[in-house]
């Protein structure tokens, strides 16, 4: 088999975008490689789909975590380790930090990036849920200019995003959370370390006078692409948290999941598992509200 592909490397965003725009074949961007290298190993024929590989790890415009006027900017190249160690993110978006902590293993977290996690777009991508729950936007760069897309609209189906061949995911914009915002990430895997998420849940809420004024509940792995459980959110919003029936809410989450996926072979497992995560997240939220 011929693997006549080219390897490109640049530290300039403009040069990378130029290459993507000019190439007649597919140029595959690579950063940490923790997904791509596994895919190539599983199917070497995949390489025939690429005209080249573009190493983007040295492009500074894709790096770093910074607090701007009304949002936090997370570069696509930010590794899971950097997320875990970031004081800004620990303070403002703890559910994202916990999600990053739940990914793979130490060497995977050292290499894997948030941009890669999102672009790979697996149903079990741990950072997707928190990004959607925090209403993050993705900023896509191309020679034609910038395109801003809510992360919630980025993934069409598992492993398929709307990012064009000539575009690079440059960074995420996370709106600054309002005072008193609570967030929680829950996950079930087969074991603690290096476990693919079987099912996860992100809850982001703003509580005032024991009532959830704003609430976002986004499951992971349970449905093909991350989308909020809007019916569940509607039931909780505006209600006194102390009066919420956890069991009822958990059952409602199960119903919403089935509405999206239909009854599948895994439903008898996923329904109660998801219910447990909903109960856990809401119990945490109740506790926060009580201690307010």
């Amino acid at each position: 088999m011929t693997e006549d592909i080219k390897f490109f490397q640049t530290d300039k965003l403009e040069a990378a975008l130029e290459l993507l725009a000019e190439s007649s074949g597919v140029i595959k961007p690579v950063a940490g490689g923790t997904d791509l290298m596994v895919k190539i190993r599983e199917n070497r024929r995949l390489l025939q789909e690429f005209a080249g590989i573009l190493d983007i790890t040295n492009i500074s415009e894709l790096q770093g975590i910074t607090e701007e006027q009304d949002y936090v900017r997370i570069g696509a190249l930010v590794t899971h380790r950097e997320i875990i160690e970031s004081e800004i993110l620990q303070e403002k978006y703890p559910a994202l930090v916990d999600a990053a902590r739940a990914i793979g293993s130490t060497p995977i977290r050292n290499r894997g990036t948030i941009g890669g996690n999102v672009c790979n777009a697996a149903a079990c991508a741990d950072t997707l849920g928190p990004l959607v729950a925090f209403s993050a936007d993705a900023v896509l760069a191309s020679r034609a200019g910038e395109r801003v897309v809510p992360v919630a609209d980025l993934v069409e189906e598992p492993y398929q995003t709307i990012i064009r061949q000539d575009e690079l995911l440059q960074y995420f914009r996370l709106p600054l959370p309002a005072e008193g915002t609570f967030s929680s990430f829950q996950k079930i895997g087969r074991r603690q370390a290096a476990a693919i998420t079987r099912i996860s849940l992100v809850l982001v809420a703003r509580v005032s006078q024991e009532t959830a004024e704003h609430i976002r509940i986004v499951p992971g792995s349970a449905i093909p692409v991350p989308e909020p459980f809007t019916a569940l959110e509607k039931r909780i919003k505006g209600q006194k948290l102390g009066e919420i029936d956890l069991k009822e809410m958990a059952a409602l989450a199960g119903e919403e999941m089935v509405k999206i996926t239909g009854e599948r072979w895994s439903t008898p497992y996923k329904k109660p598992a998801l219910a447990t995560l909903v109960r856990r997240a809401l119990a945490e939220l109740k506790e926060v509200a009580e201690n307010e």
Partner: protein, 158 residues
């Protein structure tokens, strides 16, 4: 076949090689540089047998393209200790019977070295997290964690 010239530091020495675009760092180390201490287990980043340090951090060398390490610093198990002297970690692994079949040991050592270079007195929990990408099917991990704890203590006393 397109080849790329890559220059990087391996165990303190600069090397310059022509590599294929899809060549894995693991293969470069083992097959071209004869650094066979680094092992291949699963090849998909789950077992940690191929763990090396890249710019001070533990990484799975089976998931790194050699072309990507241009200008960077790679350290393998051969780069631990000195010619006639074991690294404190290696000695601690021996003293605590943390080696049985030995296949996971180079990877374990590199994950542990990356941890101790970053944190001089890690907690037991931090040690376990640092080793969470390294599988061992013999020891049951207890001796390995104890060895890393002992090494951290000995290094702190230095």
């Amino acid at each position: 076949m397109n080849k790329i010239k890559v220059k990087f530091i391996i165990n303190g020495k600069e090397v310059s090689l022509l590599v294929k675009p899809t060549e894995r760092l693991l293969d470069t180390l083992r097959d071209r540089l004869n650094l066979t201490g680094t092992k291949e287990g699963c090849g998909v980043g789950e077992c940690g047998a191929c763990t090396v340090m890249l710019d001070g951090q533990a990484v799975n060398s089976c998931l790194v393209l050699t072309a990507q390490v241009a200008g960077r610093e790679v350290r393998t198990v051969e780069g631990l200790g000195k010619e006639d002297e074991l690294d404190i970690l290696q000695q601690a692994f021996i003293d605590h019977q943390a080696v049985q079949c030995g296949f996971c040991t180079p990877g374990m050592l590199m994950s542990a070295r990356a941890l101790l270079d970053d944190k001089s007195s890690p907690t037991r929990e931090e040690i376990k997290t640092a080793l969470d990408g390294n599988l061992c099917r013999c020891t049951g991990y207890q001796q390995i964690v104890e060895a890393v704890e002992a090494a951290a203590e000995a290094e702190g006393a230095d």
